[in-house]
Point group: D2
Chain length 307, copies 4
C-alpha cells in the first residue's frame, strides 16, 4: 500500500508539480485529479486510441472554450460531442460578442429589462441573437442541404469568421467530427426554425450521423472517453462505446451530478461495464468537481507532460 | 409572518394530510414539497393553462412510469418532453419485459456476463433489445415516413401493444404531443440505425417539430412547467417558453443537480426570468430531491385535491 | 430477482400505502425510503435492541421537532444525541417563542436590522435570546453542579416549562439519555459563558459522559442507529458502536452530504464495517434526501406499522 | 461589466498564473477559486485582522495537513478550530504511523479483519491506536490538570514528538490558540475515557475555553474566517463572530455541503449577515468544491503572492 503523503505547496510552484503532490497524496478529490491526468495522458499517448470528448453544461459561458479548442487543435481529441447551447454560445463569441462576469443572485427581472440573459453568474446580452439571425438568414442556403448534424456543423464551422477562436471553426479546420444530437434544443435550433417559418426547407435528418459515430467506435483499436458534465454528450458517446470492439479502456468523468438518482449524467463510469461501454479492465476515474475548477488544473498538468 | 408549525405525524395518515403538515411547517424541503403541490394544483386547475412536462433521468427504470401515465391520462399535462432512454425503457416494458431490483454496488463485469445492464440499482436484461429489434424490423415501413420526431413518436405509440401501460401508447391515445429532441441518443436511435444500416431510409428531420412546440407555447394563454430532472427535456421546454406570450407563470422543478456549476439542469427556475422563460410574477418552486421520493409524495396529495 | 413495479398513486392514499408502493418499486430513492421503514420497524420491534438516534442540522427550525418527540415518547429511541443548536432552538420554542416561515434569498442586512436571524428559510426573532438569558440567570445554581453534559441536559429538561413540547423536557421525563458533545458550540453555550463571565463556576466536564454512552453500547444485546444528518451526533454514536458487542446491526442514515469528500457526515454506513461500528451482516440503508422530506414520509408509514 | 476571458492554459504554467486565468474568466467555480485567493490574501495582509480557520472533514487522512501547518507556521492564521478526528489522525502520524491510499469501494469486512479502518479511500491501520493508548497512559498526569480544551491541546502539542509535522505541535510551538469543542467525540476522547475507566480524573471543563475564543473575537479590530468544511469548527467560529465588533469582514468557505437542507455546514456565508456574524459589506465567497482540490490550488497561488 502506498502512503498518503500530504500535499506540500511551494512558492512559485508549477501546476504540474502541484498535481504531482496530489498524486503523492493519492486520496479523496486530489487523488482523483492526479489520476485523471494520468489517464488522459495515457489515452492521448496511445497511438491506436480514439479519444471521444463529451461536453455539457455552461462550458463556453463558463470560460472553458480555449482549453477545449487547445485539445482539439492538438488532436488530443478525435471525436467531439456537445450541446446546442455550447455551440450557440461559441457562435455568439465568434461573431464578436462576449459573455460577462455577473452575479448569481442578481435581480432577474432587472436583467431581463436590460436585455441580459443569465447562466448562473455569466451574462450574455440578448442582442447577440440579432447577429445570429443575420448570420443564419445569410448562410441558410449553404446549410440547408446538409444531410446530417455532423455535416451541418462542419459547414457551420466553415462559415464562422476565420481567425476567431471557435469550437465549431476548429472542428471544421482540423476535420474533427463533431456531433450534437439535440441541436434543435438550442439557439441554433431556434435560428433554423426562424428560417423554416419563412417557408424554407432543410434536409438535416435526425438519425443520419449515428452511422458515423458508431463507425468510428467500431473501427477504433482502442477507445477513451472524457466527459465534462453528463447529459446527451456523455450518453451519445457511451452508447457508441457498446459498438467499440474493446469498449472504452480509458475514462475520465468530471461532474457534480450524483449517482444516486440513477440518471446517466451522474452515473459512475463503472456502471458502463455492465453495458459493455467500459472495459472491465479499463483505467477510469470519476472526478467529483465543478469542471471549471478541475479541468484547468488537470489540463495545466497534462500540457507539461505531452511533448 | 407565518409560524413554523412542526410536522405532526399520525397513525393511518393520508398522504394529503402529511403534505398539509408540511405546508404548516412551510420551511426547508418539506415546505417546498407542499408548495409544489399547491403550484401543480393551480396550473392544472387553470383552464387556460398549457402544462409542459419535462422528464429526464432513469424515470422508467426508477418506477415513475405509472404516475406520469396517470398525469397524461387525466390530461393534467398538455405537452410531454422526455429522453430517448425513457422511451426505450417504456417500449421494453410495453413489449413484456421488466426492470429488476438490483444492487448499486454490484459486480458490473458479472452482470455483463449475465446479460444484465444496470442503471444505478435497477437492472434490465439485455435480451429485451432483441424484441426491440424485431419490433423495429417489422414496423419500420410505418415509421420511416414520419417527417418529425413528434409524428414518429405518435406512430410508435400506435404500434405499441394495446392494453399495456406505456408512455408512448398513452400519448398516442390521448393525443398528447410528445417530443424527444435527442431521440437518436437512445436504444430507439440504435434500432433505427440498425435499419438504416440495411440500406433503408427514414424521413424524420432534426428541426421539424420545433414549429409544433413553439406554436403550442405561442398560442397558450397561460403556461406552466413541471421538470422531473433537467437535461434536454427541461431545456427544450424552457426555450419554447420564450415564445409564450406571458412566459410560464407556474413552475415546479425537482432535481438533485446543483445550480453552481452553471448548467441548465441544475439552474434555479428564477434564472429563467432573465431569459423571459419565466414570468417575473410566476409561482414556482425548486424542489431539491430525488424525483422518486418527491414525485409520489407530491402526486399522492395532488390526486386528493383534484376532483 | 424482484420486478420493479412502478409506483401507483391513488386518491385518498395513506402514507403507509404509498411507502408500500415504493417498496414494490424497490429502486432509487423510493426503494431506499421503503427500506428505511423496514429497518426502523425491525430495530424498534427487536426487544433486545438499543436504538441510538443522532440528529444534526436545522431540525427544530425545520419543523422536525414533533416527530422526534413522538419517537422519544414512545421509546422507539433509547439514546438521543444532538447538537447544541437544536437544543437551543428547542428551548426557544419551549419558552414560548416561534420560528417563522421566511425566504432563503432574503436581504440579510434588512433581517439583521429587524432583529431576525435566518437558517435557510426559517427565521427566529433575536429577542428569544433575552428570555434565554433570564432563564439561565435564574436557573444557573441548579445547573452548575452537573458533572457531565448528560446530567446537565436532564437538569435543563426538568427546568423547561411543563406541558410544552420539548426535546429536552421529553428526554428528562422519559429518562432517555441525551448527549451533546459540543454543547459549548451553541446558544446554550453562550448563555453559560454569560454566567461564567460574571465570575460563576460550572462543574460540567468535557469527557465525563463518554462512560455513559459507551456503557449503554457495551451492554446492549443488539444496537441500531438512526442518523438524521451527520456531524458530531452521528460520529459520537458511531464511535460508541465500536464498543457494542455486535456493533450496530440496524442502520438508517438520511443526509444530503456526499461521501466523496471523505468526512464522517457523508460517509456511507458501509464504511463503518471496516471500523467495527457496523456489523458485516447488518441491515442498513443510506437515504439521500433532505431530512424534512424523508423523515415525515418514513415516520408516517412507520406509525401505522407499530402497535 | 467585465468580460469572461476564457481560461488559457500554457505549458509549464505556474499555479499562480492559472489562478490569474481563472480570475480573468471570473465565473462559475473557477471565478470563485480566484476570488478566494484574493480574499485570503487581503485578510492575511490586513495587519489588524485576526484570521480564524475552521477545519472539518477527513483533512488529515485526506493529505491536507502540511498546507494547514504551513499556514500556521507563517501565522497566516491566528485561531484554529478543528475536530477531534483530525487531531487524532494528526497524533497518529506524529507517533510515526501513516495513512494509506485505499479504495472507496473496498470490502469493508475484509479490511476489518486485516485491522484497517477506512475513511472513503484513505486507510489507517488499527494498531495506531495501541501507540495512542501508550502515549495517553504515559502522559496522562501532565494532561489531567488542564482546565479547558485549549490548554489541554497545547499541552498535548508539547508532548508530541518534536520534529514531526503536526498540527498540535505547531499550534503549541507557535502559540496559536487551538479549539476543539467536541474533543470527546474522537479517538482522543476514547483515550481519555480509557484513563477515566481506570479511576483517574481529569479537570477539563466543557465551557471554559469559550471565554478565550470570544475574547479574541471581541478584541479583534478586524476578523476574517476560513472554513474548510463545516461542522462544529465553522459554527464555533461563527458564534464567536457575533461578539467581534465588526463581525467578520472577510470570509472564505470551501465545502460540498448544500445550503438547502438548512444546516450550518452548508449555509452560505451571506446567511451570517442576518446573525451579525458577517459584516454586510464583507468580502466573502462560497467555493463549492472538495477541499482537497480547491485548497492546494488556492494555497499554491496565495504562497506566490505573500511576501
Amino acid at each position: 500500500m502506498k502512503i498518503v503523503n500530504p500535499v506540500r505547496v511551494r512558492k512559485g510552484m508549477k501546476v504540474a508539480d502541484l498535481v504531482s503532490e496530489m498524486a503523492a497524496s493519492g486520496v479523496m478529490g486530489a487523488g482523483k485529479i492526479a489520476k485523471a491526468v494520468d489517464i488522459m495522458e495515457a489515452m492521448i499517448r496511445d497511438k491506436g486510441c480514439k479519444v471521444f470528448l463529451g461536453m455539457a453544461g455552461a462550458m463556453v459561458p463558463g470560460g472553458m472554450k480555449e482549453i477545449v479548442i487547445d485539445m482539439l487543435r492538438h488532436h488530443y481529441v478525435d471525436v467531439f460531442v456537445t450541446t446546442g447551447a455550447n455551440l450557440t454560445h461559441d457562435m455568439v463569441e465568434a461573431l464578436g460578442h462576449s459573455h460577462y462576469q455577473g452575479d448569481a443572485h442578481a435581480d432577474d427581472e432587472a436583467l431581463n429589462k436590460k436585455g441580459i440573459v443569465r447562466m448562473y453568474d455569466s451574462y450574455m446580452p440578448n442582442k447577440a441573437y440579432e447577429d445570429l439571425e443575420d448570420f443564419f438568414e445569410k448562410h441558410f442556403p449553404e446549410l440547408q442541404r446538409a444531410s446530417d448534424v455532423r455535416e451541418f456543423l462542419w459547414k457551420l464551422g466553415s462559415l464562422v469568421p476565420k481567425g476567431k477562436d471557435s469550437l465549431l471553426r476548429t472542428c471544421y479546420e482540423e476535420k474533427i467530427p463533431i456531433f450534437c444530437p439535440a441541436i434543435s434544443d438550442s439557439g441554433i435550433g431556434l435560428m433554423i426554425w426562424g428560417q423554416l417559418a419563412k417557408g424554407k426547407k432543410i434536409d438535416v435528418g435526425m438519425f443520419n450521423d449515428l452511422k458515423e459515430i458508431l463507425d468510428i467506435a467500431w473501427t477504433a483499436k482502442q477507445a477513451g472517453v472524457i466527459y465534462l458534465g453528463g447529459g446527451v454528450p456523455k450518453n451519445y458517446i457511451q452508447q457508441s462505446m457498446q459498438f467499440s470492439p474493446k469498449a472504452s479502456i480509458y475514462g475520465v468523468q468530471i461532474t457534480m451530478d450524483r449517482p444516486e438518482p440513477g440518471g446517466s449524467s451522474g452515473a459512475l463510469l463503472k456502471e458502463g461495464i455492465s453495458w459493455g461501454k467500459m472495459h472491465p479492465n479499463a483505467h477510469f476515474v470519476d472526478v467529483v468537481s465543478d469542471v471549471t475548477i478541475a479541468l484547468p488544473l488537470i489540463y495545466g498538468a497534462l500540457k507539461d507532460r505531452l511533448k
